[in-house]
C-alpha cells in the first residue's frame, strides 16, 4: 500500500535520495542534508502550531511504500510564498508601441520582475522515485496536498500556485538562464541552482535585472524556453491543468518554467471532494468502483491513500480494514474522498487575467 503522510526525522535519508534523483535537480529541494533536516523540522513545527491565517509555515509530505518500507516520493506546500522575502517571478507583458506619425502599431513583449506570486500558497519540491512514474502514486503524491488544503483552508491562501521546472537542453543547460541570469550572476545554471537551493532564491533574485527585459533582445533559444516546462514534467503539468490550474503570465526567473495558478475552489479535487462516513468491509467484499483519493481528518496524523470509491446505497464509503487502519479511522468516522479521474486538460492562458 502507498500512503502520503507528513515527513518525520526518520525520513531524512529517503528525502536525501529523492532530492538527489529529482529530474531536473530542484532549486527548492536541494540534496543538502542540513537543509532537508530543517525542512522536516519546520514541517513538524508548522503542523503543531495553531494557525488562523497563512504565514511562514511549510508542510512537507512523503509518499511511503508500506510493502517495501521505503520513501518513494516527497512534496511540499509553502503556506505563503512571500512570507519572509519576496517570491520573484517574471511576468510576461505586452506593450503596444503605436506611432501616429508613421501610422504603425507594434506589440513588444517584455518580462517584468514581479512579486505577485508571493501572496499565493505554493505547491513545490515534488520528487518521485522513477519506478513509480506513470502509476496512480504520481497523482496521489501530487494531489494529496490538495486534500490536505481542503481540510485546513485557514492555513492556506485562496490562490494556489505551482512553478514547474523549466526547459533544459540535452546538456542540462537552461537556454533562458544562459541568455538572462548568467550575465548578472556570472555562473552556470547548475551552479546557480545549487546555490539557490542551499542559500536562498531571493538572494539571487536581488542580483537580477530590476527593469523589464525586452524579449526581442533575448536569444531565440531563450525566447522559446519562456513558459516551457521541463520534458520530464509534461504529464504532471497536464494533470494540474486538468485539475483546474491555469497558466499564468508568470514564469520562473531562472529557467522561465511556467507558473500555473488557481483559486482553490475552482480545482476539481476541491469541487468534487465529499465527506463520507466509513464502513469497513473485507477487501474481497468491496464492489468494483473508480479509484479515489481518500484522506483522514487529522493534522499531524494526516494520511492519504488511493482506494476504490465504493459507496454504499446510503452514502457510506466502504474501506478495507487495511486502508481503514492506515488512515486510522474506525466505522462511522468521516473521511474525505475525491475521484482520481479528472476532466480533460484545458491547456490555456487564463483569459480573465488582467
Amino acid at each position: 500500500m502507498l500512503v502520503v503522510r507528513p515527513a518525520k526525522p526518520a525520513d531524512l535519508p529517503g528525502l536525501e535520495r529523492l532530492a538527489g534523483t529529482a529530474t531536473p535537480r530542484l532549486t527548492n529541494l536541494p540534496a543538502h542534508r542540513d537543509r532537508l533536516e530543517e525542512r522536516i523540522t519546520r514541517s513538524q513545527r508548522s503542523l503543531a502550531r495553531e494557525i488562523d491565517f497563512p504565514g511562514d509555515e511549510s508542510y512537507t509530505f512523503v509518499l511511503e511504500d508500506l510493502e517495501r518500507g521505503e520513501i518513494a516520493g516527497t512534496a511540499t506546500i509553502r503556506a505563503h510564498a512571500g512570507a519572509h522575502e519576496a517570491y520573484y517571478t517574471y511576468r510576461q507583458e505586452t506593450l503596444i508601441h503605436a506611432s501616429q506619425q508613421l501610422n504603425v502599431r507594434r506589440e513588444v513583449q517584455t518580462l517584468s520582475l514581479s512579486h505577485e506570486v508571493s501572496d499565493a500558497s505554493l505547491l513545490c519540491a515534488l520528487s518521485l522515485d522513477p519506478r513509480y512514474k506513470g502509476t496512480s502514486a504520481e497523482s496521489l503524491l501530487r494531489r494529496s496536498r490538495l486534500m490536505f488544503i481542503a481540510q485546513y483552508p485557514e492555513r492556506f491562501a485562496e490562490l494556489l500556485a505551482i512553478a514547474f521546472p523549466g526547459y533544459l537542453d540535452a546538456d542540462g543547460e537552461s537556454p533562458f538562464w544562459n541568455s538572462v541570469g548568467r550575465h548578472f550572476f556570472a555562473r552556470g545554471y547548475q551552479e546557480m541552482n545549487h546555490l539557490a537551493g542551499v542559500r536562498s532564491k531571493s538572494f539571487i533574485a536581488e542580483v537580477m535585472p530590476q527593469f523589464p527585459l525586452y524579449l526581442p533582445l533575448l536569444t531565440p533559444a531563450a525566447r522559446a524556453a519562456i513558459g516551457r516546462e521541463h520534458p520530464a514534467h509534461e504529464t504532471a503539468l497536464a494533470e494540474m491543468l486538468a485539475e483546474g490550474f491555469a497558466r499564468s503570465r508568470h514564469v520562473d526567473i531562472f529557467d522561465a518554467g511556467p507558473v500555473i495558478k488557481a483559486e482553490r475552489e475552482r480545482l476539481a479535487t476541491f469541487r468534487h471532494s465529499t465527506w463520507h462516513p466509513v464502513r469497513i468491509r473485507p477487501a474481497t467484499a468491496l464492489p468494483d468502483a473508480e479509484p479515489a483519493l481518500i484522506a483522514n481528518q487529522k493534522l499531524e496524523g494526516f494520511r492519504c491513500v488511493v482506494a476504490r470509491y465504493a459507496l454504499s446505497p446510503t452514502g457510506q464509503l466502504m474501506l478495507s480494514p487495511e486502508h481503514a487502519a492506515e488512515l486510522g479511522v474506525e466505522e462511522g468516522r468521516a473521511v474525505l474522498a475525491a475521484p482520481l479521474g479528472l476532466p480533460d486538460a484545458d491547456d490555456a492562458f487564463d483569459e480573465g487575467e488582467l
Binding site: H97, F211, L213
Partner: protein, 339 residues
C-alpha cells in the same frame, strides 16, 4: 578662405553642398525648400531677430578667391527646445549580494534628455577638394571663437554628436541589434526623418525601459561610444579642445556624444582680443597656419587663418588681403587664437 554667416544668396551653393554630402548627413537633405528655410532661419539668427536661445547659427566656408562655398558648419544655441532631444546614457548599476559574495556592475542604457538646453556644434562638411591647408580646422574652430565672442548667448555646456560605427556593408550593428526591433524602417530612413526634425516617432516607438548592455550582441556593444572611421579626425579635433565622452550615445547607431563646459573649451579659454594694424606687406604663405582670428560683430562675423600672431605689444598685423577677407581696418579688434 574665410568663414562667414550663410546669406540668403547662398541657396544654390548650399544645395550643391547638400547634393555632395549624401546619405548619412541628415541635417542637410537635398531639398530646396528645406534649405531655403534653413538659410532664412540662420539669417534671422545672425540678425538677432529671434531670442538667443532659439538661434541656429549656420556658417559657410567661402573660397573668397573663387567665390564659391567650400563647406559649412553650424551651432545650435540650445537643443531640445522644440522637440525632445534623446540620447542613451550608459549608466552603471550595481548588482550585488553580500550573502553570495557577488559584486558586479552592469552597464545599462538609460533613455535620457539630459542635454536639453545645451549648445550643439554640428553639420560640419568640407568639400573634398578643400580638405587641405587646415580648412577643416578652420570650420571646426571658428565656432569656438564665435561662442567665446558671444558667450552670453550660450548655455553652460556644448555637445557634438559623432557618427557611430558601421560595418563593411554600411550596416550599423547597434541599430541591427536594438533599433531594428522597435522601428519599422531601415536605419537610413530613421536617420533621415530625424534629420528633418520629424522626431515624434522616436518617443512613440522606442523602448522606454533601460537596456542592459549584456543583452546586446558583441558587435552592438562594440558600437557603444565608438565612432565611424570617417569621423575619427573630427573627434580628435574636439577632444583636443577638451570635449569628452561622458557616456551619452546616439539612440540609433550608438555613436558618442562628446561634451564640455563651454568655459573649459581650450579655444574659448585661450582666445583673446587684439587690436589690428593693417600693413601692406603679405605675410609668408604657409600650408599650416597657426593663428586663427575672428571678427567681433555677429552679423558680419568672419573668421580666417592669418600668417602671424600678435607682436610683443599685443597688436596683430594683417596684410591687405587678410584685412579685406575679414573686413577689418587698423584700429579694429580681432579675437585671436594660437593653435
Amino acid at each position: 578662405m574665410r568663414i562667414r554667416p550663410i546669406a540668403r544668396g547662398d541657396l544654390d551653393g548650399l544645395q550643391r553642398l547638400a547634393r555632395e554630402t549624401g546619405v548619412g548627413f541628415t541635417s542637410l537633405p537635398d531639398n530646396r525648400d528645406f534649405l531655403a528655410g534653413k538659410i532664412e532661419s540662420a539669417a534671422r539668427a545672425f540678425e538677432e531677430r529671434v531670442p538667443a536661445e532659439e538661434r541656429l547659427y549656420f556658417f559657410v566656408l567661402e573660397d573668397d578667391e573663387r567665390g564659391e562655398l567650400a563647406g559649412c558648419c553650424a551651432i545650435e544655441a540650445q537643443v531640445g527646445r522644440e522637440v525632445p532631444f534623446y540620447h542613451y546614457r550608459v549608466g552603471t548599476l550595481a548588482h550585488s549580494s553580500v550573502q553570495l559574495d557577488l559584486h558586479r556592475t552592469i552597464d545599462t542604457l538609460f533613455l535620457s534628455s539630459d542635454h536639453t538646453g545645451d549648445a550643439e556644434v554640428a553639420s560640419l562638411y568640407l568639400r573634398p577638394e578643400y580638405r587641405r591647408h587646415r580648412n577643416g580646422a578652420l570650420l571646426s574652430k571658428a565656432r569656438w571663437l564665435f561662442m567665446a565672442q558671444f558667450r552670453s548667448g550660450f548655455p553652460d555646456k556644448v555637445l557634438a554628436e559623432m557618427r557611430g560605427k558601421f560595418d563593411a556593408n554600411g550596416i550599423s550593428p547597434f541599430w541591427q541589434c536594438l533599433g531594428s526591433h522597435f522601428f519599422p524602417m531601415d536605419f537610413n530612413e530613421a536617420d533621415r526623418l530625424t534629420g528633418l526634425g520629424q522626431k515624434s516617432f522616436i518617443g512613440e516607438l522606442m523602448p522606454k525601459f533601460p537596456i542592459y548592455t549584456p543583452f546586446l550582441t558583441e558587435e552592438a556593444r562594440a558600437c557603444i561610444g565608438a565612432v565611424h572611421d570617417d569621423t575619427r579626425p573630427a573627434l580628435e579635433m574636439l577632444k583636443k579642445e577638451g570635449l569628452r565622452w561622458e557616456g551619452y550615445i546616439d539612440i540609433f547607431d550608438g555613436g558618442p556624444t562628446v561634451e564640455a563646459y563651454i568655459d573649459d573649451v581650450r579655444a574659448v579659454r585661450h582666445s583673446r582680443l587684439c587690436p589690428v594694424e593693417v600693413a601692406g606687406s603679405e605675410p609668408e604663405s604657409t600650408e599650416r597656419p597657426a593663428w586663427l582670428v575672428a571678427t567681433t560683430e555677429m552679423a558680419d562675423f568672419r573668421a580666417a587663418w592669418v600668417g602671424r600672431g600678435p607682436g610683443a605689444d599685443g597688436t596683430l598685423t594683417l596684410s591687405d588681403t587678410e584685412a579685406r577677407r575679414l573686413g577689418v581696418t587698423t584700429g579694429d579688434s580681432l579675437r585671436v587664437l594660437e593653435t
